[in-house]
Amino acid sequence: MATPTITKTEKLVGKRIRRREDPRLITGTATYVDDIKMPGMLYAAILRSPHAAAKIRSIDVSKAKALKGVHAVFVGKDTENAGAVPCGASLPGLRIPHHHLLAIDRVYLVGHPVAVVVATDRYIARDGADLIEVDYEPTQAVADPEKALAPGAPAVHPQWPDNTAFTFHQEGGDVNKAFAEADVIVKQRIVSQRLIPNSMETRGVVADWRSAERSMTLYTSTQAPHLVRSLVAQILGIDDNRFRVVAPEVGGGFGAKIQTYAEEILMAYISMKLQKPVKWIESRRENFTCTIQGRGHVDFYEIAAKRDGTITGIKLKIIQDLGSYFTILTPAIPTLSVLMMPGLYRIPNISADIVGAFTNCTPTDAYRGAGRPEATHGVERMVDMMAAELKMDPAEIRFKNFVRNEEFPFPTATGLVYDSGDYSAPLKKAMEMGGYEKLRKEQDEARKQGKLMGIGLAAYGEICAFGPSPATPAGGWESATVKIEPSGKVTVLTGISPHGQGEETTFAQIAADELGVDIDDVLVAHGDTSLVPYGIGTFGSRSTAVGGTALYFALQELKAKAKKFGAMLLESEDVTLAGGQCVDNKTGKSVSFKEIAGAAYRAMKLPPNTEPGLVSTHFWEPPNFTFPFGAHLVVTEVDRDTGGVAIKRYIAVDDCGNILNPLIVDGQVHGGVAQGIGQALWEQAVYDDNGQLVTGEFMDYTMPRAHMMPWIESGHTVTPTPVNPLGVKGVGEAGTIGASPAVVNSVVDALSPLGVRHLDMPLTPEKLWKLIASNQAGRKA
């Protein structure tokens, strides 16, 4: 779609404005970490453990040190006192492993960093790493969370032989009573497999220490530059005002770049030691094991209902595969699943237990959806299973149990307050778009012909716009600064750190609308701690709902001041800001923003009680989370001969509150759905019993690709949130959360004539074929 011509009076919010960040991305002129070169810069390569569990008997670095071009080699003993990888989560009784930057005397995951070689170029650094001789004594590993919790399992950390990092319990209502009085109880073990986030750009760091100034500049591919600054500055004992973190162009994160990683601390440390800039770029191979992974749940669900389909209670036990150590949010992620376990339903009685299990694997942490996809997948599977048990239509049971419109703000049994909603609306719309009744008739016909056709529904809710500060580990507010420059051009500085979400466009739309200026006169800058005020960053579908709101309020303050200058210039008390001008309501005379800016900076005369300049900064603390919702409808057909799944139709109806830019919202939904279908059908981090990642490269890990995607029929309903004045809820994770249960419900529906009631992801053709084949064999016998 062509960019519409914009006039100053035309509102931009709500329009399909093309992304202003795209030209530099499409033309290859964006600057990523690996594009940064500095005079005298050295390159680091990291030697990593090939074993998931081993003692280190000795390390011989002499050959590496002797290699021409190698400047230094660091091993665990050198960095022993340089700090540990930080975890920001706190839970009662939480056991936090002290994860050194480099292994000291043992390794506990494949990819565990053992040594760093710093050389004049990356090739020599890599060769140097290969020359290091490490004498390992491999020990028993455990890579499966259920096996890790079994008696006698090898201990990931010897001080905690039960491999239990924490247990967590939460309940609301009276779940025992609900189950005692239930007519029907359905139970199921549900797995949300480990996934690998796989952003297009891997991680990378350039650290530049200037000892004369005691200042550090750290370029890093991160979603949260200020958080990296706070943590690394504190760990290395550097003043934060002399510590600049820059997130240049960041090629995707999906939650895997919220963390502060060992390499960020290591490179800063090494730059200080060597007094040189140093660069490390993660290889794709490293990315598979050295950047966090997502999901990793084994869930045990029980759901209770009355005969009429009223759901009265849920019990859930989560075994969370934490991996071998913690990154910033590792143990907190499953608690989000607990918060969202009732989904969109008015289920008054819940009980949840989490057991956090150590395994000799990569840590799990936030991956697109972070805890909510697991919860939604679970509840949406269970609701389908309950419908099947009660012989109800899966739509009917959902309509029956949705929180009702008049019940908002709705307090959940898990302690949240759902902000606003019309939960039936997206499901109704999806069913209309799909022609649900007709689809069911087609399905009857298809079944008569022996075809395995399925229709799957999922109604999802999510907790977004993280969040009220008391409910977050490091603050949940956001900052924005707006400057009207002396020329009248507008600069927006935001504390969020977009890396593909398009806020350079949506925030420019907001600013252009509020100030009535041309969108091309607005520049949105972010991702540099020396440029923008402290901010929290981009994750948890928070950027527009929290950062956009901070911007909105900064704009109001700035407008008030601009109006004062306008009134002064017009010599009027009664003025309005509109269309890039300040207008005298009585005479109709006006002055432009440029004239106002000129007056504010030249300051020949000032309005009463007003200082020069036109700059406003606002820090906004959200009073609540937001709760977007929606419904996906998926039609599938399973090939009897091969077990292959074909998605015949994919309908996604999302309600993310007000929509600032439908083009960007569609893109977010499409990308999210791709990742959700990826989990449902293809993706899985498979570890063998020795803790080796079997799917450790793209030859074996099935990333969804464009040609594997169905056509997505998008629809929206709009229920603004009262939590923020923009009425926006967030949409970055919605597609992922809705997709996996919708696809799995569809395939289970397809195979239901064979007696199938549940399937764990990914739904590989072989898994389905075996079911079909055994069913056919059974019928023949």
Binding site: Y123, D130, S283, W682, T695, D700, Y701, T702, P765, W769
Partner: protein, 284 residues
């Protein structure tokens, strides 16, 4: 993902290249398998000889009843060659199934067959075509049949210092029906199984059947038991089904994360039946 240091030569003549190969250098064609292996340091050649600049090693030429395809002819060139599409459509169709567009633009037929990945696409077609491969060393040139060439996983009849100079495939007239049917391994794009079929009929009966299978076992092979079972039959659906179930006879099916031996063998039957039905339907 950084290879070890190596020497690189890009000779302009085949003789020059063969001279370097005789000294122990390793040939580089499209690099679609070798370069990733070098990046992972699974292959660490000291000296690479790039065959890409050699004149007259990339061609598709008809000569009498056969077509010669030069070693550095890319998959894209094979897939889009009007000559092959008209006179050896099985090879062009097979090439169109290889990898993705980027791989087909870079990868070459010589490189692919010399690498002998047991899940590569070409070997199935070359087996069904009873293709010949011309192997050239600095002081030798010999021609071997595809059946003799593919020895084992990543193992061919090539001697040290030899390269695949060209492939020779027959001209198929419109009386020959062919088809290549493949189940993709979704991550890599390689074949979980791929079945290439080439059939002719005379008097309503199948007079010639050639079936090449890749992905199923340690090497691409001709399913001779199935071929024999089809010859002399009309090719009814029931016959096709029965014949298809013979394609795995005598081989040990591979098993990996993407398909167990049992499932892979089943897929071989399903895709052999598809390929047979399509090929029979394509006989003019």
């Amino acid at each position: 993902m950084i290879p070890q240091q190596f020497e690189y030569s890009a000779p302009k003549t085949l003789d020059e290249a063969l001279g370097l190969l005789a000294e122990g250098a390793k040939p580089l064609a499209g690099g679609m398998s070798l370069i990733p292996m070098m990046k992972l340091r699974l292959a660490n050649p000291d000296h690479l000889v790039d065959l890409g600049r050699i004149k007259d090693l990339s061609y598709v030429r008809e000569q009498g009843s056969v077509i010669h395809i030069g070693a550095t002819t890319t998959h894209h060139e094979v897939e889009s060659s009007a000559l092959l599409r008209g006179k050896c459509p099985l090879l062009a169709e097979t090439a169109s199934h290889i990898g993705d567009v980027q791989v087909r633009n870079m990868g070459t037929i010589g490189g692919s067959v010399a690498h002998a990945d047991p899940a590569a696409d070409y070997p199935a077609a070359l087996q069904a075509l009873e293709a010949k491969l011309v192997l050239k060393g600095s002081k030798s040139e010999r021609t071997v049949s595809a059946d003799k060439f593919f020895v084992d996983t990543f193992t061919t009849a090539l001697e040290p210092g030899e390269i695949v100079r060209e492939a020779i495939v027959p001209v198929d007239d419109a009386g020959t029906g062919t088809s290549y049917q493949k189940v993709l391994q979704p991550a890599s794009g390689f074949a979980i199984v791929g079945v290439a079929v080439r059939v002719r009929k005379q008097g309503g009966k199948v007079s010639m059947a050639r079936i090449g299978v890749t992905g199923l076992s340690n090497r691409a092979f001709r399913a001779t038991a199935a071929e024999k079972a089809l010859e002399g039959r009309a090719g009814t659906p029931a016959e096709i089904q029965a014949v298809a179930e013979l394609v795995g006879q005598g081989v040990e099916a591979n098993s990996d994360l993407h398909a167990s031996a049992e499932y892979r063998l089943h897929l071989a039957h399903v895709y052999a039946a598809k390929a047979l039905a399509v090929a029979l339907g394509r006989i003019a």
